[in-house]
């Protein structure tokens, strides 16, 4: 098990380094206008040159990458070029916001999709068909459109939930939860639709296998067959789907944060990308990659623990 985790960790580090390098090169290829955007239209060529020197943009690209990597390894992700906020602080402020939303969405997705997927697989018939139709509909609806519909109905028309913003959990747990209801619901509708189908398929596959027939022949109760044996075997693909959902939800959160004006990593990323704020962009990308890598690692470990065959693979 330790060797398995070790191999995964090495792969993770390589992934982070490669993605950081590629992002850096892509991001810096478009920084030609940063000094002008920062100093405004009346800046003289001398002022522009001084600004470029101050930001280190006058050095060769690889030297800039080396400097950034050296600082990043010491925990210094630099300072935003446009808001003067330390990047690490900006991420620390916004990461809990995005994580609150995504973790809640993943948890609810797991809960609802397992419930619906198992019900559809076991009961079959009209229930299965209804769940499948709802799943397809949920999958087809873009989450930003769902978000807008929810805002118009619950916030603007009924006035029962906030249309925008985020309240820290430490400030007011009730307001925190209220602020997250609509964004999380917008994310969950699409992700549940997709995950429920996967769970349904996995459970049906397992229920058709020989060992299940044997268990049933031995007189084990259907509930025990389902929850103790079938679900355990179906857990591996389901966990993989959920880890993919986590990554997809991080991506979806970018749009949802924008619609709900939630000050999370998504909003930070969009603003940094639009302005060409490379230090912020780099910090966010590295943070997100590390986050995704950790989630994958955890899922791999859980899968390996639940199903030893995965470790051998």
């Amino acid at each position: 098990m330790f060797r398995f985790i070790g191999r995964r960790l090495v792969a993770c580090v390589v992934l982070v380094v490669v993605i950081a390098g590629i992002t850096f090169l892509l991001a810096f290829s478009g920084t030609g206008n940063v000094a002008r955007n920062l100093l405004g239209e009346s800046a003289t060529p001398d002022q522009l040159a001084a600004k470029n020197a101050e930001l280190g943009l006058d050095k060769p690209l690889l030297a800039q990458l080396g400097t950034w990597a050296e600082h990043a390894l010491h925990g210094d992700l630099g300072i935003s070029w446009f808001t003067n906020e330390p990047v690490a602080q900006a991420i620390a402020n916004r990461l809990p916001v995005t994580l609150s939303m995504v973790v809640l969405a993943v948890a609810l997705t797991a809960l609802i999709s397992v419930g619906l997927g198992v019900a559809a697989a076991v009961r079959g018939g009209w229930l299965d068909r209804v769940i499948q139709v709802l799943s397809v509909a949920g999958f087809a609806l873009p989450n930003f459109w769902v978000a807008l519909v929810l805002v118009v109905f619950f916030s603007v028309t009924l006035g029962v939930l906030p249309a925008t913003g985020y309240v820290r959990l430490s400030e007011s747990p009730g307001s925190w939860a209220a602020a997250l209801v609509l964004p999380v619901a917008s994310l969950v509708i699409g992700s549940t639709a997709s995950a429920a189908q996967q769970v349904r398929g996995a459970v049906i596959d397992v229920l058709r296998q020989d060992f299940v027939r044997t268990l049933r022949a031995r007189g084990i109760s259907p509930r025990s067959v389902l929850f103790r044996h079938a679900l355990r075997n179906a857990a591996s693909p389901a966990l993989t789907v959920l880890s993919l959902q986590f990554i997809a939800l991080l991506g979806g959160a970018v749009v949802i944060e924008k619609v709900f004006a939630i000050p999370g990593l998504g909003t930070l990323t969009i603003n940094a990308a639009l302005q060409g704020d490379v230090p912020v962009l780099m910090g966010v990308v590295v943070t997100l990659v590390v986050l995704v890598v950790i989630v994958n690692l955890v899922i791999d470990v859980i899968s390996g623990w639940v199903n030893p065959k995965v470790r051998v693979q």
Binding site: N93, P162, A163, T164, R168, S172, S175, A177, A178
Partner: protein, 504 residues
């Protein structure tokens, strides 16, 4: 069992949500003396050398006093400076200062502080450093009086003193490592660090020692940066904020929702005809060609269909509230494609010619119109795609003969510095004309009483010589809810904090 547990969890979640809903939505309504607004941009900095006008003004106007201010009629009024007066040559500006004012760190405001702030701004690298760069030396007469000795007359200086140029911060804070995040001003409010999260919420509480509390009716100001227009509209419609900026496309929807639209024309939309000397496209050196371009656009239809009628037709670049505006000029070039073609033929371009223009995603709605209306008189447009955040640097680079732009307009002299002189950034090909130089010199040195006439003469020359092709002044639209009154400012897209007041 599992289903039962799930139900219990969902029920618990619903309870929490229900509790939160009561405290979440409409929180801003609980305190009538709280103003909550959604801003278009995040705050860039509280460092006085980095302050900007436009949307950024809302962040710093609660904490910093300025030397002068503007009233609702756009007239300059005393603030920290109680009076101002030029000498006959207009190269020395005398300022009398208010006494007894203190910054929030206890430092008293006096003439030395004014000098410290103005020199600090001029030495800085911010967008508005130019606002105090015309000052050569400072003569401190007393703690409440000083003379600003100018290198040359600067008709824009007093305007700047009511803006970023006049911002006064505690001199102790100017070199502080926290200058960008911890503002130390003498303004009506202080930034409340505990209620402030960068990028999310900026909270301001009253400055208990403020000298003019009565002018600021709110006890608390909350500014929430929301870059997305839909989010801002949803926030104001659902009662989460009292005011926000919108665009003309969403105006009708906002008004149906019972919101008040407060408008002011700050920007002019149209073409910058930058290649007046024909360096890139020889045809543009010919006045008849530039006039033809002015006649080519159906301004009225564009204003009606693109900006939903929110604005006023114009052919001049100066702000209608400023010295240089001359209403008589606004009908100089009425839509007349036949006349445009005739002018092109007279200039020897009956078969037309081609120009290259930057194509910005931010101005996508205008590109097809430009292509069609110029095409109708024989001018073919070749587009070069430019990312939205590179549009201004690209235009200022001097690579293009013509570009569409929405350009902010303030006082006439400010606009002249921005786009008319040989050194102006928005004159990237450095075009010039001896006659225009004379008019500019006359305006620069004109006594106060003759200043409006001198500025109008500049505007007339610019229109007669078709240096630009303005179509219309577009309204900046600021929405407010039923509890909030807003007085728009002529020179700024977003109102500053003293422009808001609760409705009785």
């Amino acid at each position: 069992m599992l289903i039962r547990r799930c139900s219990a969890l969902l029920a618990a979640a619903a309870l929490v949500v229900g509790a939160g809903a009561c405290s979440g939505a409409g929180a801003s309504q609980s305190a009538s003396k709280t103003l909550t607004i959604a801003a278009v941009l995040d705050n860039n900095s509280f460092d006085p050398t980095q302050l900007n006008i436009g949307n950024q003004m809302q962040y710093w106007s609660p904490v910093f006093d300025t030397l002068l201010t503007r009233d609702k009629d756009n007239k300059l009024q005393p603030w920290l400076a109680t009076s101002w007066k030029y000498d006959a040559k207009r190269t020395t500006l005398n300022l009398e200062l208010k006494s007894g004012v203190k910054f929030t760190d206890g430092t008293p405001f006096d003439a030395t502080v004014v000098k410290d702030n103005l020199t600090n701004l001029a030495a800085g690298t911010g967008q508005n450093s130019y606002m105090s760069r015309s000052i050569a030396t400072y003569q401190i007469v007393s703690p409440t009086e000083l003379n600003l000795k100018l290198k040359a007359p600067d008709p824009g200086l007093v305007d700047y003193l009511a803006s970023v140029g006049g911002v006064m911060a505690s001199p102790k804070s100017l070199k502080s490592p926290t200058v960008a995040t911890v503002p130390v001003g003498s303004g009506p409010y202080e930034l409340d660090k505990t209620g402030t999260v960068a990028g999310s919420t900026y909270t301001y509480k009253r400055n208990p020692g403020y000298w003019n509390t009565a002018a600021f009716p709110y006890d608390k100001i909350v500014i929430k940066p929301m870059t997305d227009l839909t989010a801002r509209l949803n926030a104001i419609k659902s009662g989460q904020v009292n005011g926000t900026l919108t665009d003309t496309n969403s105006l009708a929807d906002a008004q149906r929702s019972g919101l008040t639209a407060n408008t002011t024309p700050v920007n002019w939309n149209g073409l910058l005809l930058m290649d007046r000397d024909g360096k890139l496209v020889p045809a543009l050196k010919d006045l008849r060609v530039r006039k033809a371009i002015n006649y080519a656009f159906d301004r009225e239809a564009i204003l009606k269909n693109v900006s939903h009628g929110q604005g006023a037709l114009t052919t001049q670049i100066f702000n209608a509230a400023g010295d240089g505006y001359d209403q008589a000029l606004d009908s100089t070039y009425n839509y007349d494609p036949a006349k445009a073609k005739q002018l092109l033929a007279e200039a020897g371009y009956a078969d037309g010619f081609a120009i290259t223009m930057p194509e910005s995603p931010g101005f996508a709605q205008y590109n097809a119109i430009i292509e069609q209306q110029l095409g109708a008189i024989g001018i073919k447009v070749k587009w070069v795609k430019v990312p939205a955040n590179a549009v201004i640097p690209e235009i200022l680079s001097g690579k293009y003969p013509v570009a569409f732009m929405t350009l902010g307009s303030q006082s006439a002299w400010q606009d002249i510095q921005k786009a008319v002189t040989r050194k102006s950034p928005w004159n990237p090909l450095k075009a010039g004309d001896p006659q225009l130089d004379k008019l500019l010199a006359t305006a620069q040195n004109a006594p106060e009483a003759q200043l409006p006439a001198a500025m109008k003469a500049v505007s007339k020359w610019l229109v007669d010589n078709a240096w630009f092709d303005p179509w219309y002044r577009e309204n900046s639209v600021y929405l407010s809810d039923a509890r909030t009154a807003v007085a728009m400012q002529a020179y700024n897209v977003a109102p500053s904090i003293n422009s808001f007041s609760p409705k009785e």
